[in-house]
């Protein structure tokens, strides 16, 4: 079956790695030869007073060692030349009085026996093996400073603990020391980490928690009594359409998700089940599921189906693998990036680059001053952050950076983002500069129509002109028609495909994929010195690490920490800090982001509040009032020149039918009236977005528009009604925001997060209408500021839509809200 079939991408340390710190340089390690021990240790001191091998021997009371077979002396047991004593605390070198010959001799008795004194040996110059708490450095090398800094930073206390543990369990590892008990709270994320092992010890358990939660959610989220509509796709595969009801806390279905569809059978049908991929979601959230094997599907049945999620561990496994690689493979990232990520104090570094004369790129719009500044700065830094507030041309700037990076001759550039949508957008822009771009998609997403289809690897494989192309095309067609190939043909098909894929990937200037996609086995032998991650503020740290550990020396993180962060389902993991992106932590560590400052999206009236509130007033307008005047649209704005208002709503919130969400009927009714007014004045449905944080309200607004909307049904169907989160990264001409919550005593839920408010307010180009209860909202400081802003502009209004009047409603004093 078509599967992402991961090879084991885990990297492990060799057996001879120092059991304390992981250093695995053959010249620097020795093996403890005590029976039941046989562990390897290095001759570095790290953060302890004795070298690791000496610390071990002293703590464990072991005394015998041998050298590594690849060390300069080869595999050698250290023992007294005369009596065979192997106690390294007694051994030392002596030289013969001539011939430059040396041997190891023990201190007691061989050295102290008087009868030896007059021999050929210079006994007075006995040089002990162990001196200054480490082995003679010319016998067992001390690892370089670089090696030592890159190794696990084990402390004396940890050494004592692990030595204690080894007494009862010789196989125990340092990870076992850190393992939390079953009911323990997970260790929270830190600002700085001693080493990559500690980093892994913190993030590993958090990823595990999130994976377990995700698995639990998916496995318990099966829905019964689903009604199916059958169709056949262009590729002749069976597609089942159905509505998949969801609640506030449910996972959002996205294209590429794997679902299992079953029917229990009836008098004339036997039971049936098939797995498929979601290939599309309609605006009404109808799911199109392409079945992997549609043969025998009961297409004459429509009712009584069950839908289940198929959980996949791939993304979590790749995060864990990336953290492990980061720890044990010193070539995974440059030293600079390694220490930067761990929060060590590193001296600033500049890349030695010849800057181009122009920083723009062919096929892209001319860059503005702050964009040029951003590109220029970034090209010279090994680690940089670009903050792109809404509408500031983040994607164009990123594409220009990638264009310039690709021209520096450092090899292929890897471009990633956490979401497929963002990767597609960026791939398209980069491709406009004429660079050779390959968009690598997960195999489970190959059936999903992509706006950059022609850039995808699977498309290029099918359309590549090579000698064995005909063969591959023939087999592909056969496979498409029959659903499967004979095992010989399948083998041939796979080999041909793999070769073609490798060739196309190797010829690319830029490879674009999701962060998780960077862990695809098809990239495992590639190295990328330059990596750009867009939307990096929406990725967890371990997710960002996946593209990094393919050899990064120069890293560009693009994002905006004032907008929504990564979605973490497991509250425990979120509370421990998994929702904090690497971008944010780097800011806390003092990396200054370059901020793009000119926004080209919002009417200047709409950008004023977000600029002041979230960006210290630095956001400049690249569009003017006249650019954003829709004179043709006849809408009753309370102040004709200001396309915004806060529509005071006093209707009650109620709990939705499912019992897990909220809705607000008055607000919904007014949303419908506003939408109808827009539509009547000639606004296209695709220009309008309705944002509401609650699933209950979303469903209610959709059904209300369908029931009472006086215009053609299709118009309402084409209006997107969705959560704040699903609007992130996108824009609409007009945004209607329905806040829903209206109670005196409880909180305002989702609206409490300033970053969510920022996203909601910055989606619109031409106009924004907020519906909510000021009495309730004003208690939250940020909402209070927003309400005052609307009031000052005389656009805090109430009354019927065709006769809006300024509202005199009293605000409450804001109080500090503890999240």
């Amino acid at each position: 079956p078509e599967d992402d079939g991961d090879y084991d991408t885990r990297k492990d340390l060799p057996e001879y790695a120092c059991k304390y710190c992981g250093i695995h340089n053959a010249a620097c390690v020795v093996r403890c030869n005590a029976p039941n021990c046989k562990k390897w240790f290095c001759n570095s001191r790290g953060n302890t007073s004795g070298s690791h091998i000496i610390s071990h021997l002293v703590r464990a009371k072991h005394k015998e060692v041998s050298l590594h077979k690849d060390s300069p002396l080869g595999e050698t047991m250290l023992e007294c030349y005369n009596c065979g004593c192997r106690n390294v605390f007694l051994l030392g070198f002596i030289a013969a009085k001539s011939d430059s010959v040396v041997v190891l001799l023990c201190r007691e008795p061989c050295l102290s026996v008087n009868s030896l004194k007059d021999m050929n040996w210079d006994l007075a110059q006995w040089e002990p093996l162990v001196s200054d708490r480490c082995f003679l450095q010319w016998l067992v090398k001390v690892p370089s400073d670089q090696e030592q800094l890159r190794a696990r930073q084990i402390s004396a206390q940890q050494i004592n603990k692990i030595e204690e543990l080894w007494k009862t369990n010789p196989e125990a590892s340092l990870e076992d020391l850190e393992k939390p008990g079953v009911d323990d709270e997970p260790q929270p994320v830190a600002l700085r980490y001693e080493d990559a092992y500690q980093y892994q010890n913190v993030f590993g358990p958090l990823i595990k928690l999130e994976a377990e939660y995700d698995k639990y959610m998916k496995e318990t989220q099966s829905k019964d009594s689903i009604t199916v509509r059958w169709d056949t796709g262009l590729n002749k595969k069976r597609v089942a359409y159905f509505l998949f009801p969801k609640e506030d806390n449910d996972l959002r279905l996205v294209a590429g998700d794997e679902l299992r569809l079953r029917h229990p059978g009836d008098s004339s049908h036997s039971s049936w089940t098939s797995v498929g991929h979601v290939v599309r979601l309609t605006p009404q959230e109808e799911v199109a599921l392409e079945l992997r094997n549609g043969q025998g599907a009961p297409t004459d049945l429509t009712h009584g189906f069950t839908v289940e999620f198929v959980w996949k561990a791939t993304s979590f496994e790749r995060m864990q693998a990336a953290m492990r690689t980061f720890a044990v493979d010193e070539t995974s990232v440059s030293s600079y990036i390694y220490h930067r990520i761990l929060g060590h104090e590193v001296e600033e570094q500049q890349m030695k680059v010849a800057l181009p004369k122009r920083f723009g790129a062919p096929g892209l719009p001319e860059l503005n001053h702050s964009q040029v500044q951003a590109v220029k700065t970034i090209l010279q830094q090994p680690v940089s952050l670009i903050q792109g507030p809404p509408g500031t041309g983040k994607t164009v700037t990123s594409a220009a950076i990638v264009f310039n990076l690709a021209r520096m001759g450092q090899g292929q550039v890897l471009v990633c983002a956490p979401s497929n949508v963002a990767v597609d957008q960026l791939a398209e822009k980069i491709s406009a500069t004429n660079l050779k771009v390959v968009r690598l998609s997960a195999k489970s997403r190959e059936a999903i129509l992509s706006p950059v289809e022609h850039l995808t690897l699977h498309y290029q494989v099918r359309h590549l002109a090579t000698d064995d192309k005909n063969e591959l095309v023939k087999l592909q067609m056969l496979k498409d028609e029959q659903g499967e190939l004979s095992s010989a043909d399948e083998k041939k098909y796979k080999a041909l495909k793999r070769n073609n894929e490798r060739e196309i990937l190797q010829n690319a200037d830029v490879i674009c994929t999701t962060c998780v996609g960077a862990g695809d086995p098809r990239l495992s032998n590639f190295r990328f010195r330059q990596v750009l991650i867009d939307e990096s503020t929406q990725a967890t740290e371990p997710e960002s690490l996946i593209p990094l550990v393919l050899g990064a020396k120069q890293l560009v993180l693009v994002g905006d920490h004032c907008q929504l962060g990564p979605v973490i389902m497991c509250k425990k993991a979120a509370k421990a800090g998994l929702a904090q992106s690497l971008f944010e932590r780097l800011i806390l560590l003092g990396v200054k982001p370059v901020r793009l400052q000119v926004q080209y999206r919002m009417h200047p009236n709409l950008s004023e509040f977000p600029s002041n509130c979230f960006y210290e007033g630095t956001l400049q307008n690249g569009v003017t009032w006249s650019d954003r005047m829709q004179t043709a649209v006849d809408f009753p704005w309370p102040i004709a020149t200001k396309p915004m208002f806060f529509y005071v709503q006093m209707g009650q919130e109620e709990i939705s039918a499912s019992g897990t969400s909220y809705l607000n009927r008055t607000e919904a009714a007014n949303v419908e009236k506003i939408v109808t007014t827009f539509l009547k004045s000639g606004v296209n449905p695709s220009q309008i977005g309705v944002i509401t944080p609650y699933e209950g309200q979303r469903a209610f607004v959709v059904s209300l528009m369908a029931r009472v909307g006086p215009l053609k049904q299709q118009l309402y169907k084409d209006i997107e009604v969705a959560s704040v989160d699903s609007f992130q990264g996108r824009e609409k001409d007009f945004i209607v925001l329905s806040c829903v919550r209206s109670n005196e005593h409880q909180g305002i839920g989702f609206l409490n997060d300033p970053r969510r408010l920022n996203v909601a307010l910055t989606r619109a180009r031409y106009g924004v209408i907020v519906l909510g209860n000021p009495k309730v909202l004003s208690r939250q400081p940020l909402w209070n500021a927003l309400l005052c802003h609307y009031k000052e502009h005389e656009v805090l209004v109430e009354g019927p839509l065709n006769n809006l009047k300024q509202s005199m409603v009293q605000f409450q004093k804001p109080r500090r809200v503890v999240n």
Partner: protein
């Protein structure tokens, strides 16, 4: 290929003193144990290794010479497993006690 400077941590004096004590105890113990155990069996006459005169230091094949630090001195380390004797090249830095004493000997021989 790159040089990165990173802040380093210090070891506490307390920990250092404690470790020193344990290390000294370990050496002391080893010495004491041998003192009473000796003089039975082991030949106490240290014989000059045989059959190694033919090879000059620097000509042995064991051990890469590239690692020889500037100013280092090459010795031949003789080891034995039972009756079998092996020679390996050992590069010793000029500042080591071995190298210094050997240099003194060379000088003394020249003066004679």
């Amino acid at each position: 290929d790159e040089y990165v400077r990173v802040r380093q941590r210090a070891v506490s004096a307390e920990e250092e003193a404690e470790f020193d004590k344990e290390l000294r105890a370990m050496v002391q113990e080893s010495v004491e144990a041998r003192k009473f155990e000796v003089r039975k069996g082991a030949a106490l006459e240290l014989a000059m290794p045989i059959n190694i005169g033919a090879q000059k230091p620097g000509e042995t094949t064991a051990g890469p010479e590239a690692d020889a630090p500037a100013g280092g001195k090459a010795f031949r380390l003789v080891t034995r497993r039972g009756a079998k004797q092996q020679t390996r090249e050992l590069i010793v830095p000029a500042s080591s006690r071995l190298a210094i004493s050997s240099r003194k000997k060379d000088d003394a021989e020249r003066e004679e």
